[in-house]
Each structure stands twice: as structure tokens, then as C-alpha cells.
Subunit: 390 residues, 2 copies
């Protein structure tokens, strides 16, 4: 293991009917801005339920809807302006990863005095914490289990053809309400996104090289096995509480810092995937399903020991030569993605070989020229991965 | 799963040389009381290293040594008086579970206005949070991986022949420094205590009945497998960093709330064990090694499905009748305890059948008359467990 700091102060409030805790969780007398997405929170009645809870105590409540998938900087700045004008002192994100990520940006930007008028610069700190002192506290009511944003302090924000990350120590949600029943009305496609996104979050922290982290490895393998078990079941039976609650809890634990504590991760699929989303509007999880198998094949030698361990422990592959077992583990991964409704071919999204140079240009622009756990995925290797995924 | 709240704000600072973070972690200008145990922190030089770090900034530092194993109320009250007299506003526990547990009591008691002069009453809230508002913040430097106290908000305090629990939402350490190298000088017996204590912490949250908690189950199984792997190795080679760091991290994760989130645990071995420690001075972990196999055998029917799962996933027992597989899993558990230097027989501690009534009386006094995940371990069942363990 590497030496590490693990810190995660988010209070998780999990289970059926936990919305009723909201009144106790949000400060009394707060000036609350509820943020949400494209309207499904409204249609499903979740937004009304949230407001009803907040109104139980003396609070002033504002609303900001319309945060899009891959939340956009200009949209979020409108919320920042509203929050500044109305002197908002608590943010409540009601939605999935995009709403939660966007709300973290809003929380950081509201009092970012030294960035006033040039808030775009807040997006240029990458994996470093943004230098802002006064972050507005936020809570979340999660309607889509996928990104783990409900229990971490990071977000991904889009600006033109850039997808950029922000982090802040104070951007952990104070609380996150996770009621699996709130996710029943999600379209199958969105549930599938959650399954694949959380699966790949786990894989990218796990599938590197042996790092003397047996506990982290086994937690990762346990999450992968669980997602493989409950993913297809919850897609087939959206109101089966047992499988849905396991998916929701797995998605949260997949990216709350526990798996990467003490180990070097490999975010290659995510980083290349962000460019595919920015340039070709492929949904985040869909880009990952295309890239991950190609990364596994291209990096077979560097990841050999962990690919064998993954095959054995997650897919119970114990016979055959090493190369056969690795190839079978990759095929099983692809079959799992297919089973939950995903293609693993980039060409299915109309992307062809001639589109690859622009993706590489964007990677270079974002300093993604030395990816992977070893820092040895150059643009040439990224090209090979993209070509392999076509 | 049951609905649950998970909250754990402790910052873990893990790895070689992390003591150097101490100056940044403790507030400047603080009036710090360092608490420690029987002197090993002094002899090993850890205490001096701690003081050196604290002195890097303007702080007033006091010391309170002599907190014993199974920390005693009268001892702790002396520290409370010192802290009150010196207006201490930060506590730093340097030691293992007893020092950390005791320091949590001190933190709670210092400003417990309504309990002034009758602080014993703080020990009578059991698993409920103690009704005190102003808890003094505490940090820890861990020298013995065992109890998980470094990442939870509970403690066990002895008073006469009572071993009593305290909990407070604000009793989580603000930070815990876990440098595996600090544990190298521990006597083998203490390392063994840590191995068995953390193993049983995991088992008692896991070995109940199927609760639709696949993630919690697999994290538990992963911790058990890891402790089984690294326990004997780290005993044989105390300065092998790789196995020691895995033991340290496993012990912390074994009791940080993650395993019991959403499931009903069974603390039977711990609860009966506390009475054995109070009445017969058997070290905490030693009492667990004696009781757990007896609990498993007595509760074979109630725990059948989980015992089979435990046998299969942790010990790879896949053949034989159900009863054979269960018995083998229990034997493997006993053999593991023997391997790390523990007896599994109560009579080896000089306890005989005639001593059992007094243990049962104490259990009754402490309202431990309906133990287990089902609340159906009456005093009669506890008697059977104790007789079986002789």
C-alpha cells in the first residue's frame, strides 16, 4: 500500500421512507436552494415530497431546475447567480450524478471571491482541491444510483468540448438520502448507466498491479460480484427492492474513497471516455463500456496478475493458459455489458477511425498524455485503445 | 437490509512516517492532554515523538499515563479532573483500544455539567448516545491494532465488576494516525489479541442469518480472509511491513460501522466475554476465542445458512453434509485461534462449572437476557454456551 489519508464525513441515510429525515437533516431557518435536472424529479413527485419536508420548519426555499446530463458551466453559473442574489446558505441536490456534481460546483463558486467574474478558472485545478475557503454546505436526495457523487467530494463539469473535474475538501455532501424506492421510476437505460458506471468505478481502482492491498482488492471484488448479480435482476424487475437496494449501496461504495485508499488507480477509461462524451455526446457509462474491454486487451501484460485474479475471483475462471483465462475474463466483462443493454463497440455510435485524431487532440489539451497506474499510456497507446474499441 | 444511517467523520492518516502530520492535525494554540497506558508508549519512544510534533506549534501539553487494560472509571476520573483544572481543549490518545476508549469517556465527561459529581451515571446509557452536549475533540495515535476504536464513537469502561459501553455522536476521533511501524514492538500476545479481537468483530456482525446484504457479507468475508492470511505471518515476522499494514487496516475496518450498516448484528460473544473479563480477568480477546466456537455450535440451527456460507467462502469448504461442513468451519476457526496462540477452552483459565452462575448473574444485572440477532439467547442459552466452552 501507499500511505494515505481517508476522510469521508458524509452521513448516509439509507432505506425506504428515509425522506422523512430531511426536516431533521437540513438546518432550521436555512435559505435552501433545491437543484434538480430535466424535470423527472418534478414528474415523479420527489420534488414535491422534498419541499413538503423542508416546509415543516421555518425555511425559505428556492428552486433551480434544468441541470442537464454532463452539467454545463453556463447553466450552473445561473444557479450561482440566483444563490448569490437570494443569499442561499444551503444547497439540496435532488437527482443523479449530474445534479450532484453540478451542485458541488455551485457550492464552491458562490463565495469564490477571488474568482468573481472568471469562475471558469475554478475548473482548471484538476485533481487538486480548488482554492476557495467558504463552500456552501450541501445535501443530496439521490434518484439515480451511479456516480457515487452522493458520498464523495468531486464533480465533473462540462464547458464546451471540455469535461473537467473539481474537488474540494468541503464539497462532501453533509448528508445523502438514499431511498431505493425513489429510483423505481428510472428508465431502464438510466439504470443500465448506473450499473456500468459503478462497475467501471470499481474496476479502475482495482485492475492495476498487485499493491499489497488485500482488503481493498476483496472489497472491490465483492462489489463487482454484487453488481454482476443484482444488475440484470434489477433491470428485469425494477421494483424488486432487494436487488435495487444492493445496487444503490454498491454504487455509493464504489466511489467513496475506500477502494482507492492506499492504492494507485487507473482512470484511463474514464479519462478517454470524457473526451468521447464531450465530442460525440456518448453517455458517460456508454463510453466506459466501449473503452474498458479495449483497455484490458491493450494492457494485458501490464495488468496480467490482476486480470488473472479478477478472472478467478469474480468470474471463477480457474482453468486454461494465462492468456486464455485473461481473454475469457475480458469476454465475460463484455457479455455482462451486453446483458445490461450496452454495446462495446464505438462504431455503434457512429464514431470511426477518422474521428480518433480529434479525441487525441483533446486528451493532449487536457494533459492526459501519461495515463494509467504506471503513467505510461501515451497518446499512441490511447490511439491503439480507441482503434481497438471501434 | 434494514434502513440505516452511516456516519463516520474520522480522518484516517495511514502509513509509514505519518506521525509527521500530527502538527498539522492538532489545532494550534490548543491545550492538549496526551493520554497513554502502562508505559510502553514511553519506553518505545512514541510519546517523545508525539510531544516533539506537538511542540512545533504553540501548544500547552499535559500528560496522563497509567490508563490500564479495561480502563477503569476511577482512573479516568483522575484524568477528567486534570483536564478540567488545566482547561484542556484537545485530547490525544496514544495507545491501543483501552487508552482510546478511556479517552472517549474523558472527552465526554469533562463538560458533562448535569452529571457533575455523579459521572458514573454516564456509563448507564448502554448503546444509546450519552446526553452530553459539549464533547472535547480527540485524536489518536494508534500503537495496537485491535479494537477499531480509532474509527468509531464507542468505548467500553470498567467499573468494579461491570464492563459498560458508552457512545456519543461526537466521540469519533477527529483523526487517527495509523503507522504500522509503531506496532512492531508489541509483545506477541498483544498482536494475537488484535488478530482475534478484529476477527471476532467481523464475525459478530456477519454470522447471523441472510439479511440481503451481499456487499456487507463480502466485505466481512474479505476481512476475515485477510486476517487469516496475515495474522500468522505478522506474528512470525513482526517487522514484515506488508502483513502488519494489512492487519492494521483490517482491524480498523472491522469496527467502523460499515459492516453493520443495514444489518442486525449478534454481539453475544462480546457481551458474555465482558463478564468473563470483569469477573475472571481474562483478556478481552482471549474471552472471545473461548466463547465464539461455543456460540457457533449452540446456534448451529439459527445460523445454519450463514455458517455454510462462512465455511464455503472463507474456508473453501464445499463438500460433505451440511452438518459436516458447519462442524469443519467451526474447527477451522478454533485451529486459527490456536495457530495465533490462543486456547479455546475456558477451563484453561481456571474457570469451572461452579463459576458459571456468577457470570449469569452479571449478565442479568446488565440486562443481557435476550442476546443475539434474534434476541432469543436467554440466560439458559448463555449457560449452555458457557458450559460448552469449559
Amino acid at each position: 500500500m501507499q500511505k494515505f489519508t481517508f476522510f469521508n464525513p458524509t452521513q448516509i441515510v439509507f432505506g425506504k421512507g428515509q425522506m422523512q429525515e430531511l426536516d431533521a437533516l437540513v438546518p432550521k431557518n436555512a435559505r435552501v436552494l433545491i437543484t434538480y435536472g430535466g424535470g423527472s424529479a418534478k414528474r415523479s413527485g420527489v420534488l414535491d415530497a422534498v419541499k413538503k419536508e423542508l416546509m415543516q420548519s421555518n425555511r425559505t426555499v428556492f428552486e433551480f431546475g434544468g441541470i442537464e446530463a454532463n452539467p454545463k458551466f453556463p447553466t450552473l453559473m445561473k444557479a450561482v447567480e440566483l444563490a448569490r442574489m437570494e443569499d442561499v446558505d444551503f444547497l439540496l441536490a435532488v437527482g443523479g450524478g449530474s445534479v450532484m456534481d453540478g451542485t458541488k460546483f455551485i457550492a464552491i463558486a458562490i463565495h469564490a471571491e477571488q474568482f468573481m467574474g472568471k469562475e471558469e478558472e475554478l475548473l482548471h485545478f484538476g485533481f487538486s482541491t480548488v482554492p476557495v475557503e467558504n463552500v456552501v454546505p450541501l445535501g443530496t436526495v439521490v434518484t439515480l444510483p451511479a456516480t457515487g457523487s452522493e458520498m464523495n467530494n468531486g464533480g465533473v463539469i462540462s464547458n464546451g468540448t471540455d469535461k473537467l473535474t473539481i474537488f474540494h475538501r468541503d464539497a462532501f455532501p453533509v448528508f445523502s438520502i438514499l431511498d431505493p424506492e425513489l429510483t423505481y421510476t428510472l428508465p431502464k437505460e438510466q439504470v443500465g448507466n448506473g450499473i456500468v458506471d459503478s462497475f467501471v468505478h470499481v474496476i479502475e481502482q482495482y485492475l492495476t498491479y498487485p499493491q499489497n492491498a488485500p482488503v481493498q482488492d476483496r472489497i472491490a471484488e465483492g462489489l463487482l460480484q454484487t453488481i454482476i448479480e443484482v444488475g440484470p435482476t434489477t433491470l428485469a424487475n425494477p421494483t424488486d427492492y432487494d436487488s435495487r437496494e444492493s445496487l444503490v449501496w454498491s454504487a455509493t461504495l464504489a466511489l467513496n474513497g475506500l477502494l482507492s485508499a492506499g492504492v494507485v488507480p487507473d482512470w484511463t477509461s474514464h479519462m478517454i471516455g470524457h473526451e468521447l462524451t464531450a465530442l460525440h455526446h456518448i453517455a458517460h457509462a456508454r463510453s466506459l463500456a466501449v473503452l474498458l474491454p479495449a483497455v484490458m486487451r491493450q494492457r494485458k501484460d501490464q495488468k496480467r496478475e490482476k486480470l488473472l485474479q479478477y478472472g478467478e475471483r469474480v468470474w471463477k475462471i480457474c482453468t486454461g493458459t494465462e492468456d486464455e483465462r485473461i481473454e475469457l475474463a475480458i469476454q465475460k466483462t463484455e457479455e455482462f455489458f451486453h446483458e445490461v443493454g450496452f454495446t462495446t463497440r464505438l462504431s455503434d455510435y457512429g464514431v470511426s477511425k477518422s474521428d480518433i485524431p480529434a479525441v487525441l487532440e483533446n486528451l493532449e489539451k487536457h494533459n492526459m498524455t501519461a495515463l494509467s497506474e504506471r503513467g505510461d499510456i501515451s497518446l499512441d497507446v490511447s490511439r491503439a485503445i480507441l482503434e481497438d474499441s471501434l
